[in-house]
Symmetry: C2
Subunit: 480 residues, 2 copies
């Protein structure tokens, strides 16, 4: 182990001698250095490598070692410009692995005087903040609350999710459930586990930009499959499976983001059948299950409840209905896929904070939870009705698709040739934040769109005022 210091000593000696050589001159041979300094050939070659790495010398194999033109100068204090070169190694285009523009746009908090029709997180007045605070306080005092939880999550919480998702006869077991740190982490774990980098992944078109971003960060190629009024177009899905060889589909069968569409019963059976035939996984992002409005008809079961063969990997998050900061979600998977997901999560992040899992259990086990969901359903229905009325009143030129009785979205198709970016900018100047349609398409958008969320505004009256401001911006830009 003494070899290290002899290398360092020789390198230091050579550094001191370095000034004696004119630029470009050949240094003494390795053999000569070995004899002069009584060191091994390994020591000489490592000392030379050290100097080469420092930019003092250039080793030309077969020809010898030469004094470098001038040493690479150390960057001036606080100069990070070298990073641009190093980071450009990411992909041929130098593009970063994670394209976060779409995600960061939806996570940005708007200025206080701007009405938020952009964020998908419900306003605090819709959330059970008191119940959350109480649950968290109790959770932190439970025996063992601060110890290491199992990698898969707390057994009781897994059992609760299995009942919640599968229903009393859904055939889901606690052992099918993996607890993840929120819906986005769950999607990341699923997509990174189920397909190798470079593989195609079928996605709905339009779809939630967070899905596209996760797919791209996992090195996958999103292939868009259009959605119509019945949900995913299964004729095109069949075609897409055949032509791309994809083994993975990501979809939101219930109150799809951004269209609000729910997959029809017929299409639902076809999606499962096509995926089975293709040997493909279906990641079911059931993000809006707890956001059904008070006047919604009975919801279809999750795909995962009709899937004995482990085709469906189901993602269920509590953040939308509870709090953006209750970062708890469940992933349902069966068979080797479950093991794959568990391994990915263990390597990426070990496990999910135990007190947050305990707090979730406290929250959902209390009678206040179902009361909260009923109240939330009433609030969401009222906001939907307010939004529909305001759109009809202020923006009759832009009829939205029928507003769904679940979730929180309106997806407005703009007239052909409209400039959605200009409209979004004008709306922001007019004091309302809305979402452009382009990031919701994996490829070129077929038409310009606008997405409105009715859940983040302070109140229904602010929501209506937001639509009025949008209408003013629309009048200004469409008059141009």
């Amino acid at each position: 182990m003494n070899n290290g210091s002899s290398v360092a000593e020789l390198a230091e000696t050579l550094r001191l001698q370095w000034d004696r050589y004119p630029s470009g001159e050949k240094l003494p041979s390795s053999r000569l250095l070995m004899e002069q300094h009584r060191v091994s050939p390994v020591t000489v070659s490592r000392a030379i490598a050290l100097l080469a790495a420092e930019g003092l010398v250039i080793a030309r194999p077969g020809a010898g070692v030469f004094r470098a033109e001038r040493p690479r100068t150390r960057a001036a204090a606080g100069d990070v410009s070298w990073q641009e070169v190093t980071l450009s190694a990411h992909g041929a285009s130098g593009a970063p692995l994670a394209e976060a523009t779409g995600v960061l746009a939806t996570l940005t908090v708007p200025p206080v005087d701007v009405i938020d029709l952009n964020s998908g997180y419900p306003h605090a007045s819709l959330l059970p903040e008191r119940g959350l605070a109480d649950a968290l306080a109790r959770a932190g005092r439970r025996p063992g609350a601060w110890s290491r939880p199992p990698v898969e999550g707390l057994a009781e919480l897994r059992a609760w999710f299995a009942r919640e998702i599968g229903g009393p006869e859904g055939g889901l077991a606690a052992s099918d459930v993996l607890i993840a740190a929120g819906g986005q982490s769950a999607l990341t774990v699923a997509l990174r586990s189920l397909a190798p980098p470079g593989a195609p992944v079928l996605v709905e078109s339009p779809t939630y930009p967070g899905i596209l971003a996760v797919a791209r960060a996992a090195g996958l190629r999103p292939v868009p499959v259009p959605v119509d009024g019945e949900g995913l177009r299964t004729d095109l899905l069949a075609h897409a499976f055949t032509t791309t060889g994809a083994r993975l589909l990501v979809c939101q069968p219930l109150f799809q983001n951004p269209t609000g569409v729910t997959l029809s019963d017929r299409r639902r059976a076809e999606v499962l059948e096509l995926a089975r035939a293709a040997g493909a996984f279906v990641v079911e992002d059931d993000y809006a299950r707890l956001l059904a409005h008070a006047d919604a008809p009975a919801l279809p079961r999750p795909l995962a409840a009709d899937d004995p063969d482990g085709v469906v990997v189901h993602v269920r998050s509590l953040t939308k209905a509870a709090s953006p900061s209750l970062r708890i979600a469940a992933v349902i998977a069966r068979g080797p896929a479950y093991e794959r997901l568990r391994a990915t999560q263990a390597v990426d992040s070990f496990f999910v904070s135990r007190p947050l899992q305990e707090a979730t259990l406290e929250l959902v086990s209390s009678p206040a939870w179902s009361r909260h969901l009923r109240t939330l359903g009433v609030g969401l229905r009222d906001r939907r009705q307010t939004l529909a009325t305001a759109l009809a009143q202020h923006l009759p030129a832009l009829p939205p698709a029928p507003l769904a009785a679940g979730g929180y979205l309106a997806w407005l198709r703009l007239p052909h040739g409209s400039d959605e970016s200009a409209l979004v900018s004008a709306a922001l100047r007019a004091g309302v934040g809305v979402t452009p349609g382009a990031p919701y398409f994996a490829a070129e958008p077929p038409e310009p769109h606008l997405r409105l969320s009715h859940v983040a505004a302070v109140s229904s009256s602010q929501l209506a005022e937001g639509v009025a401001r949008l209408a003013a911006a629309w009048a200004a830009t469409s008059a141009l």
Copy 2:
């Protein structure tokens, strides 16, 4: 949008007719189907694609469409065996992306009658559980505690980490800090951001298996650089930068896991100089900074405190000193690298739970925190001394490297030719969990080793008993 249903109708008609054709027989031409069913060529080709995906027909371009030998049968209820085929697409070897064996081994909770000399998480008696519970309860009631935090983390917590890591004159700003969900997540975000899949990453040898697992899950190729009594061998590091072209090094300069070694002052300057010359990032995993023993000499500054140019990406976690379930860490980065890390984290997981960040602030801002760290330092010193005494008494044949006055590890080199797996198994039968050395090497281990942790056992006396049990296992296996 009506096209979808005509495709489905045609497909259903063809399905019903399918039985009429003998296996292998050619179906009517597309032209004939178009005329018979009064549909477009697109509808015909999509309906055929649907049947092909279902395995009913085979399309042979140029020849026509034929009835398949037999349809692919739908898997019997509950049959997940198809997943093996689909998942084998991961890599030429069919190996999963995330190799979690090493990580899962260290995260497994041993049976109650087994003394734990394996886990790196301190026993509950060493942790501030009361303070954590109080901090969490207060955090959940802070105004806005349940709202969305900024993607980068709470400004106050970022400022605290900047002072904590950079010191009063360290030149770190809150804007250099990204809050992550624990040390493992921080390493994942850093390694996924700083080098593209397929790139080499230099790692210490031996090193923490969690680093190897994260590197491999990011698609990187770990290249081992040996560690000696002064830390990373800079002569070999220079060689490794030159020969591999690596632009990324991951290291633990303080109380390295598993050797306990601290990088010497001379080597420390060389590591930074070599990385600068190579245009490489240095990920500094400062996992044991808060685990200095009561009798430790003054600690060297973090590499990040001597790095104006954004070469060092520093990872600091609170989990070891506070609780495995306080999943909060900070990453320090400057320049474009910071933006890259922030984007990766936003896409992977959005942000870190705000109440956990608030609780961390409550905890570290209280006077009890520095008292806790002093108590922890005394407890760790006592355990180290107990372990050293027990090893000298019971296992004089296996002199460990000198036990470091920080961290919690002993790294024992076993005699050449020893079977470390057999010893680990025998130890488990004798009632003590210890860690084999092999997973700590990126390539073939040069010699067998054993790693002991003195931090997870219930008490010092149990720690000594664990070593006695290990000695019995050693006597039994080495006598074979």
